[in-house]
Symmetry: C2
């Protein structure tokens, strides 16, 4: 019976931990406070019998996307998508030549586009994100994301997701966590590629959305995307999106800007062991360095309160050996 | 090495199939077309190498709740909750004595309440479902559901969930399916007990909702429930709720009324192997018998089209040996 138990133990170990369990987790994280805080938190919530133990069902971790899992500079990836889409659709819209913000955009004058303000951006988003079915939009995004390249690096956007964060997602999942994205970006803009790139299935993606309608086209039922805002999953919208989709409070939250403040606050003010982490963009050479003064991904209030609230800071320049999935 | 492989095989078998795998699935279902259709569908999508095989990630099954997983007669359980709640709150609302529909309700005159129409019901729902935080509402529902009893049977409502459907939920999950509830009922009314009773976690519950607001109360962040409709997850709302929460089309749908028509249609009109099933309430002795003429859970259009659309019918009287979880 001795050998039986031995074999059972080995098999159980292999089945539950995988063959590569010997590798130390988070290999592209430098030793330091951030990495150690992650290890300590995971050890606490997974230690059976400990008062800090959290059952697997409650191990919910939420991740912002833009600036937390991939870059948001010089502009949000989804905005690049919308701009490309206007150019693609322009031949079908001759009226855009005389109509702002499309006229400036098509002339390449982004400064003039941005000067038109939020209403103009909303018009661009609706013109490029609404009118088609959900299945058509899925195809449009899938096609774009597999070919479009970042203006600075020349890489595919999905090659620029942060390798240390991919390791963190895997590490948490290997420890029984269910990982969710909670982004201000469009929910249907992330779903077509998030499973392949992040290992996160569509039902674990939360984001902003437009309204939809169920109807028949060519005698088949379809869901049509309407040019009307449904939900903004940013700032105080993030806890509401979490409650609507997940229905329980996460125990760990990961963000990078003041847009994540309420998500971090909601997550870390629950009872028991909690974890908050902010990715601080400090690496002007390998990525970008920005915080309080940036119009994209401004990090100000959350940076001020990180220490008093016990939120951990990742210093990208010093904490990460490698930045991108594909260097 | 022979004994090593033997032991490994046994351990793998035990770990993957469970100790009770020898039992035939769906034991409280009588042999018949409905049970056979379920077996055939599951065999088809799980047979590796077959053209009808569906990867585990895409094995999404959606279940209506009222009338599909538990009774909806003589009125929706959530309406009983709302009525009980009005009685509980009445001492704090002396003005209700002179204000309809509360006055009639408190006198026990349900006929007069219902005569006031939908606006009156909405007023009752908002008075009992809004104003508190999400955590308070969770506690209120949890307390009620563990004590309130069905007027006819005297059982707890959760004792009246249909045993054959519990077996079906387990059977699908054992075959790699992810099971979701997609109900016209309130999303936060189901979440407090659905994991315990159905084995379905909060993040896999989709339902109707009211708007919410993130704010601070007693220096702690809370999510407050507002007396304003957010989303009605019924009829053509069901495919939209599915898209919003799950982000992909299910391959199996289970309902019982015309309120499930579009969910069944959306699910079964996708490509590949699909499954639709309608629970037909045919058992006046053990449960209730109703369909085309019922104001609650009317089944008319979906019954007419079931055959042409290939949707399976469960005849509760003949297909189910036992109805309730607790007889």
């Amino acid at each position: 019976m001795h050998s039986f138990h031995f074999v059972v133990s080995i098999v159980v170990l292999l089945l539950t931990r995988g063959w590569g369990a010997a590798q130390v987790p988070l290999p592209t994280w430098n030793e330091g406070a951030a990495r150690q805080a992650i290890f300590d938190f995971v050890a606490k919530v997974t230690e059976k019998g400990s008062p800090s133990f959290v059952p697997i069902a409650d191990r919910i971790a939420v991740f912002d996307n833009d600036g937390t899992l991939w870059p948001e500079q010089p502009m949000y990836v989804q905005l690049s998508f919308a701009l490309d889409r206007v150019k693609t659709l322009a031949p079908q819209h001759p009226e855009w030549k005389d109509h702002e913000p499309f006229a400036s955009l098509l002339k390449g004058d982004m400064k003039a586009v941005l000067a038109e303000g939020e209403r103009a951006l909303a018009e661009i988003v609706m013109a490029t994100h609404a009118g088609m079915t959900t299945e058509e939009f899925d195809r449009i995004v899938s096609d774009w994301i597999t070919t479009a390249r970042h203006p600075k690096s020349g890489k595919l956007y999905t090659e620029m997701v942060y390798l240390p964060m991919l390791e963190l997602l895997s590490y948490l999942r290997n420890n029984g966590f269910k990982t969710f994205i909670v982004s201000g970006g469009g929910i249907e803009f992330m779903r077509p590629w998030a499973l392949r790139v992040y290992g996160i299935p569509p039902e674990q993606i939360i984001g902003s959305s437009i309204k939809t309608r169920y109807e028949r086209r060519n005698d088949r039922p379809v869901i049509v995307r309407l040019p009307e805002l449904n939900f903004v999953d940013d700032k105080s919208g993030k806890p509401l999106g979490i409650q609507q989709h997940i229905g329980r409070r996460p125990i760990a939250a990961f963000g990078n800007s003041d847009g994540d403040f309420e998500m971090l606050e909601w997550t870390t003010s629950g009872n028991g062991t909690r974890f908050g982490l902010i990715v601080h963009h400090t690496d002007a050479d390998r990525e970008w360095a920005y915080d309080r003064q940036s119009s994209v991904g401004r990090l100000d209030k959350a940076l001020d309160q990180a220490k008093s609230r016990g939120w951990n800071l990742v210093d990208m320049k010093h904490d990460w050996k490698i930045i991108y999935r594909v260097e």
